[in-house]
């Protein structure tokens, strides 16, 4: 290792075959619907819970015109009791004016004796958690969720808009550098996850909405389409980021292979405090479990890297040298750089450590 020291860059994973495990957790305790060893499909519910509804605050003291501290004497329900709309929850005297009714179906969440208020939690809505991924239930997390396991390809993307989806993969670009064309998205794309090479424009997005695709994967997106992408009724995944950048060749190659297979995609992106990266999962049969490589690989000669910034953003190549001394870059800054063989016209280039990620 040179004087530049050991540098541990971030990583993006593009693995043709690995073991994939995904934890599926309910937002609050509920009921798990499957058993260990069960085979599950992406749309299959694996757990369910009830999402609590709104809380209604009933100011009994105010409504009965009594002092807050005395209101509890007139309250006719107990904490935890089920109530329906118009259930009498407090009464004083025999007139209708002396009756306080529940404003909603639900249960008595709390009685605040000091303020004379009754809190009614409105009845909950059931919510289901789907498997997201075709695979086998490997673990049950009692009352909270499951772990689904499968073998297959894993591709981490850079940026996503929307949530999760699944469908048959349809590749509509011939090359990783080819922008998607609207006419390529025809009626056969209905319900599919459409994969293109480079970027796409508004007409592509409109066509994809019309054809009711279930997802769109591309290399990049023009910044001007940000709002349209956020409003799209299906998830959009970008493998490179914003701008006009071709999809990294190894990603395009992997997506192009095994055509017609079902994929699961998640566009959820979180950049800190629980980083979440968008991902493409392609379940593939395998006789053996291939564990994913461990993280923590330092930058070294021979390592495959991707350029994260600058005119060569998105280019993938191999580190050929790690110069000992800091190098002056175009901005005038002196920083540690790696010499990277990017192939083709780019050839060998010096790229700051900070602008590289390990790509494997």
């Amino acid at each position: 290792m040179s004087e530049a020291g050991v540098y541990y860059p971030p990583e993006t994973r593009v693995l043709p075959l690995t073991t994939i495990r995904r934890e599926r957790m309910l937002p609050r305790p509920g009921k798990v619907l499957v058993n260990p060893g069960d085979r599950v499909q992406p749309a299959q519910p694996v757990a369910q819970t009830e999402v609590s509804g709104e809380v209604s605050v009933v100011n009994v003291a105010h409504l009965l015109r009594v002092a807050p501290a005395r209101a509890h004497k007139y309250i006719k329900v107990k904490e935890g009791a089920d109530v329906t709309m118009n259930t009498v929850i407090a009464s004083k005297g025999l007139t209708s004016a002396g009756r306080v009714k529940s404003p909603a179906n639900g249960f008595v969440y709390r009685i605040d004796k000091s303020t004379g208020r009754v809190l009614i939690k409105v009845i909950s809505r059931p919510t289901e958690l789907t498997a997201y991924l075709a695979g086998t239930v490997s673990h049950i997390i009692a009352g909270r969720g499951v772990v689904i396991e499968t073998t297959g390809a894993l591709i981490q993307a850079a940026l996503g808009f929307g949530g999760e989806s699944y469908g048959v993969r349809q590749v509509v670009s011939k090359q990783a550098a080819d922008p998607i064309k609207a006419r390529a998205i025809d009626v056969t794309m209905h319900g599919a996850i459409v994969v293109g090479g480079a970027w796409f424009d508004e007409t592509v997005l409109e066509q994809a909405i019309q054809m009711q695709v279930r997802g769109l994967i591309a290399g990049s997106l023009d910044g001007g389409l940000l709002e349209a992408a956020l409003d799209a009724p299906f998830p959009i995944l970008l493998t490179e980021g914003l701008g006009h950048i071709a999809m990294a060749a190894p990603i395009f190659k992997l997506l192009n292979s095994n055509a017609g297979r079902e994929v699961s995609i998640s566009a959820l992106t979180r950049t800190r405090w629980g980083v979440q990266r968008p991902e493409i999962l392609i379940p593939l049969p395998s006789d053996s479990k291939i564990e994913p490589p461990t993280y923590g690989r330092p930058l070294a000669v021979g390592v495959r890297v991707r350029v994260l910034r600058g005119p060569r953003q998105g280019a993938v190549g191999q580190v050929t040298a790690l110069p000992e001394l800091s190098q002056q870059i175009e901005t005038g800054a002196k920083v540690h750089c790696a010499e990277v063989d990017l192939g083709g016209d780019d050839g060998r280039a010096l790229v700051p450590f900070a602008n590289l990620e390990i790509f494997r």
Binding site: L159, G223, T271, R309, T331, A333
Partner: protein
């Protein structure tokens, strides 16, 4: 671990949200000096989820740079220092990697208690998610107030209202609805109620809140009287709450804390300590201003004679929060600092890309200037928030529009690692628009978090490290203001070099120039402003020292926005001219 007071060598670690830095400070020829620094990506997030890994990476780098073994075979810091020179006597840790406190502020009147709460909250890493006002604009029903707390699920609700001996019933009503809102949340997620209102009501507030909700009754009202504000006790409680609920939850921090002889403190607090210390050097009437644009946070600390007002924005930084900044300021406000055209959507794409890849650095001059333009607006936005409270601290002179600072320190990579000194100086001058005569300093080695933390255990180390050029001087800046036509002579300046020779300059309105005064060279400055031109409270003859840039004379006028041509092409030419003038 040796007693801190015996410390001779100090390892200071600052765990940021993007990078972790390790700095070695040690006595050299009887005086503390900065020896070496190293940096590595912070490993707070998955797949690492343990900051100690990144800290060890940074220390490994530091070992290589300083040729001094610092880590034992089991990966712990060697302490105390051994006879063979390995290890350190003291390890101090600061961090800005924790999430900010999510707050709801509740007060009686927007312009009084709520404004004080806002300023107190800005003194620590916090994000104000909602504001509840009992009176005036923003009024909500009892139920709506409670529901807004339920919807936000904050970490804490700060309540203020009523001067001491003043309003009672409205304050108690406010506390009731806040307590109601907190009670709607699942017990384990309930917010802490921090009460800093009418002091006489503390016992009643405790009764209302009850035992099911955590209450901090601050020893002091943020508004003890209508014209008085006392933010200190509330800020201390919020700082403690942040440390106990957020900082302590940073994965792996406890591993590093075990190496330290002093508690882990927030980077903001440490930064504030250095600014406060600097304000105690020199003229007690003049202050020190510190600005730090970090990856996730932007801070500004103004201190006068040891009294500090620190303001932190946890939602705007050089890597994270660019989108937030663009939603607050006009995109044109950022673009105005650029000598080239950029489409608004490209600027939005730029900030999103930076959030996705926070470790990355500008690859070309264009990207560098975009980052610096964003930093200018981040600073301007925090200064707007902080400036009203500086006036209470500063002894003001006649005709001064803003408090006078004799020292301005820029920190954070986007400022301190600007590739040319002129870029850093211009960034600070454009963003802060300071006036008068002051020194511009840069924290090029990222020492401010280290020194503030080291000073807690070993004050002498911080003092000496600063005095031994721990901060790089860009030079002295002279900024006259007043009404004048472009080209009109507004100031006569005579610089007499210590080694002999004078330089006399007639400064004309609208100009920006740098006069030669290299590092280490001393000179005496005599300034003769034209009538109606303000250069602050300066002596007849001002001793000045050279810096990386020289003597900066900024006669562009204030406010700068008014000096920029309306025509976009002329404006870009003007920006380019200023960059050239500063050698940037």
């Amino acid at each position: 671990m040796a007693e801190p007071t015996e410390a001779s060598s100090i390892l200071a670690i600052d765990i940021g949200s993007v990078n972790t830095q390790a700095v070695l400070i040690a006595p050299v020829e009887g005086s503390y000096r900065f020896v070496a620094r190293a940096q590595s990506p912070t490993t707070q997030e998955a797949p690492w989820a343990d900051v100690a890994i990144g800290v060890r990476h940074a220390i490994e780098q530091l070992q290589r740079v300083s040729t001094r073994p610092l880590l034992s075979d089991d990966g712990n810091v060697i302490s105390p220092e051994r006879d063979d020179g390995s290890g350190v006597d003291l390890c101090v840790i600061t961090s800005s990697a924790a999430q900010p406190l999510r707050l709801v502020l509740a007060g009686l009147v927007g312009e009084l208690s709520l404004d004080s709460l806002r300023r107190a909250a800005a003194g620590t890493y916090s994000a104000v998610e909602d504001v509840i006002s009992l009176l005036g604009t923003g009024r909500k029903s009892d139920e709506m107030r409670a529901k807004s707390i339920l919807a936000v699920q904050p970490d804490a609700v700060c309540v203020a209202g009523g001067t001491d001996g003043g309003s009672t019933t409205p304050v108690l009503n406010l506390v009731e609805s806040v307590a109601l809102g907190a009670s709607l949340i699942e017990p384990l997620a309930r917010p802490t109620i921090v009460y800093a209102g009418n002091s006489a009501l503390r016992a009643r507030v405790k009764e209302i809140v009850g035992n099911d909700i955590s209450l901090v009754a601050v020893e002091g009202n943020v508004r003890p009287a209508l014209g008085t504000e006392d933010l200190g006790p509330l800020q201390a409680e919020l700082d403690a709450l942040h440390a106990s609920t957020k900082l302590s939850k940073v994965n792996g921090l406890s591993t590093c804390a075990a190496w330290s002889g002093v508690p882990v403190i927030s980077t903001a607090r440490s930064f504030g300590s250095v600014v406060r210390y600097l304000s105690m050097i020199g003229d007690p009437r003049a202050g020190t201003l510190g600005v730090d644009v970090g990856a996730s946070n932007t801070m500004v600390g103004a201190a006068f004679n040891g009294k500090l007002q620190l303001t932190v924005r946890s939602d705007i930084g050089s890597a994270f929060g660019g989108s937030r900044l663009l939603s607050e300021v006009k995109i044109a406000d950022v673009v105005r600092w650029l000598p080239f055209q950029i489409h608004p959507t490209d600027l939005q794409a730029f900030v999103i890309d930076k959030e996705l890849r926070p470790l990355t650095i500008p690859a070309d001059g264009r990207e560098l200037l975009i980052e610096q333009a964003l930093a200018r607006e981040a600073i301007r936005s925090i200064v707007k928030l902080a400036q009203p409270s500086w006036r209470r601290l500063a002894p003001r002179g006649r005709g001064q529009a803003a408090p006078m600072f004799e020292r301005i320190v820029g920190a954070g990579a986007v400022i301190a690692k600007a590739t040319r000194p002129g870029q850093a100086a211009l960034l600070l001058l454009d963003a802060l628009e300071p006036i008068g005569v002051f020194e511009l300093l840069l924290d090029v080695y990222g020492l401010m978090p280290a020194l503030g933390a080291a000073a807690i255990a070993h004050p002498l180390s911080a003092v000496q490290a600063i005095e031994n050029k721990g901060l790089m001087s860009l030079g002295t800046a002279v900024v006259p203001t007043g009404t004048a036509r472009p080209g009109e002579v507004i100031l006569r300046l005579k610089m007499s070099y210590e080694g002999g020779g004078d330089l006399e300059v007639e400064v004309t309105a609208g100009t920006l120039e740098v006069l030669p005064l290299p590092p280490g060279q001393k000179a005496t400055l005599r300034l003769q402003p034209r009538r109606g031109i303000d250069i602050g409270r300066v002596r007849k003859s001002i001793p000045v020292e050279g810096g990386a840039l020289g003597l900066i004379v900024d006669a562009r006028g204030r406010p700068l926005a008014r000096q920029l041509p309306a025509d976009p092409e002329l404006r870009r030419d003007q920006i380019q001219q200023w960059l050239w003038d500063m050698g940037a």
